[in-house]
């Protein structure tokens, strides 16, 4: 079994007095895609924000490639290969589409070139001089993911990338993530769409009330999808 790329060990987090995460333990192996599944408010977003260092009221160990990163500033973590796609996509209105792509430094050995991104998304090339937020929601989602691929990140942290996307865009996104996966990029994916989750991911963590309550294979998720959907309150 390949080594753990990301090892999260007993991560807890708070908002003031309120505890949002309790002893989360999660691993993502090299090249693996893992999802966090759970109903709204379960703590998925908080988990990603702790990993990238934006949520500081937290305790626990986070190791990336064997290196302890829990005390590092967010930009240092990103430079070690984390590619963060926030739940609001994080496209800058005051940057052009191309600047949105070029803002992060390249951090990995195998970054996507602009040409490759534009070949995959002709629409981004067409609109490369326009302000980022003039794109449609779906195009902004593609841009946000293209941006972390251009960084050459080795672990993508994706917060509900399919949310609000039209089915045809979900398919495009699936193809894109599978291509990144073939290239060896690992992913920690927050996903409510079980069909999508099982299509791209290898393993799934079920999160409830800030705790990991189960760990499932894609096979198990398909078998138990009714129960899981009920659990998610969908």
């Amino acid at each position: 079994m390949p080594d753990a790329l990301l090892a999260v060990d007993n991560l807890s987090a708070w908002y003031g007095e309120a505890q949002a995460l309790r002893d989360i333990t999660v691993t993502v192996r090299e090249g693996e895609t893992v999802t966090l599944v759970g109903r709204n408010g379960a703590g998925k977003t908080t988990t990603l924000r702790c990993l990238i260092g934006l949520h500081r009221q937290a305790r626990g160990r986070i190791a990336l490639g064997g290196r302890e990163i829990a005390t590092l500033a967010p930009h240092r973590r990103a430079r070690l290969g984390l590619g963060y796609v926030p739940d609001d996509r994080g496209i800058y209105a005051t940057l052009s589409v191309e600047e949105n792509l070029l803002l992060p430094p390249t951090v990995g050995p195998d970054p996507w070139s602009l040409d490759r991104i534009y070949a995959a998304f002709p629409r981004l090339r067409e609109r490369r001089r326009a302000n980022g937020t003039t794109l449609s929601g779906g195009e902004q989602q593609m841009l946000a993911i293209a941006r972390v691929l251009r960084m050459g990140a080795r672990l993508l942290l994706l917060d509900e990338p399919t949310e609000g996307l039209a089915p045809v865009l979900v398919q495009q996104l699936e193809a894109l993530l599978l291509e990144a996966k073939r290239q060896g990029v690992a992913m920690l994916l927050i996903e409510q769409n079980l069909r999508f989750a099982t299509a791209v991911a290898d393993r799934h963590y079920l999160l409830a009330l800030g705790q990991i309550v189960d760990e499932l294979t894609s096979e198990q998720v398909r078998e138990r999808s009714h129960q899981i959907l009920e659990h998610m309150g969908v």
């Binding site: 260092g53 934006l54 800058y92 209105a93 600047e99 803002l103 992060p104």
Partner: protein
């Protein structure tokens, strides 16, 4: 009331306006990167003017050297202020840094007043720019035309730096989404001190250019900072284009105030009132300012 007078007032308005533009540009860049409303901006403008005057008094340093040296020196002073004081308060409510820079402004102004008195100090324009130039309806001091052109050229250069360079892109990104920008691997904090120094140097540059137009006095910064807040509100806090356009606009509004006064309506000294009426109208019609985004950061 004739064309000559109006032309002169309009040009005077543009002179004022280009100083406002230069200063509010620095305020906008600083606010964007640090979320600090730098109340000491006027004091740095005054120090720029005093810097040029002192350099000339003490070492006969010519204008063309002072225009580089004074902003450089004052910019370094600004960087020291950021490093030693502003940074310490940056994790607190922005009000603390507002109060801090307000205190710094008062302290600097009073220190200069104690040392040099309130008497205005004349500062001669450089040899090449003395005399007047024919602007059609009137003759106008050549130096003042230079001041407009130079200040606007600097504004254009700053615009270019911000809109077209990688560092400018980082400043824009950090202005819009500081945390996200960090999460994307950009070391935002590394640029905070240089950007503050740069904004302060722009204020000092404004002061050097203003020295031959107005008299150099310790209170010149206090006078301009009040107007600058109107400029910032009209243009939209943190907006680069807004700073420049609103700066010129406010200069012209001031000129209109003068023209009305000359026109016999005796609205003398109502120049500032006019500016703040304009500010109130903009605030009511477009609370984020003419160029502001409804919600930034």
């Amino acid at each position: 009331m004739n064309g000559t007078l109006i032309a002169i007032q309009v040009f005077d308005g543009l002179v004022k306006g280009s100083f406002y533009a230069l200063l509010s540009l620095g305020l906008a860049v600083i606010f964007g990167m640090l979320r600090v409303v730098n109340f000491a901006h006027g004091a740095f403008y005054m120090l720029g003017a005093f810097g040029a005057w002192l350099l000339a008094q003490q070492w006969q340093v010519p204008f063309w050297a002072a225009i580089v040296l004074a902003p450089l020196g004052v910019g370094l002073l600004g960087m020291a202020l950021e490093r030693t004081l502003i940074r310490r308060l940056s994790h607190l409510d922005p009000l603390y840094n507002f109060l801090l820079t307000f205190g710094v402004a008062l302290a600097v102004q009073d220190a200069m007043r104690l040392k040099y008195g309130i008497q205005g100090k004349p500062y001669m324009p450089p040899e090449q720019l003395r005399g007047v130039t024919d602007i059609g309806p009137a003759f106008y001091p050549t130096y003042r035309i230079f001041a407009i052109v130079f200040a606007l050229a600097v504004c254009l250069l700053v615009w270019y730096l911000i809109e077209r360079t990688r560092l400018g892109m980082i400043v824009r990104a950090a202005t819009e989404r500081p945390d996200l920008t960090r999460a994307l691997g950009v070391n935002v904090d590394r640029w905070v001190t240089p950007v503050f120094g740069f904004g302060v140097a722009l204020a000092a540059l404004g002061g050097v250019i203003a020295a031959p137009v107005y008299q150099v006095t310790p209170v010149m910064g206090a006078d301009i900072i009040i107007i600058l807040f109107a400029v910032v509100v009209i243009g939209g806090l943190g907006s680069i284009a807004g700073a420049v356009v609103a700066g010129l606009l406010v200069g012209l509004i001031a000129a209109a105030g003068q023209i009305i006064e000359i026109g016999g309506f005796d609205l003398g000294r109502y120049e500032n009132a006019l500016i703040f009426v304009a500010m109130a109208i903009v605030l009511l019609a477009r609370p984020a300012g003419l160029f502001g985004h409804a919600e930034a950061g």
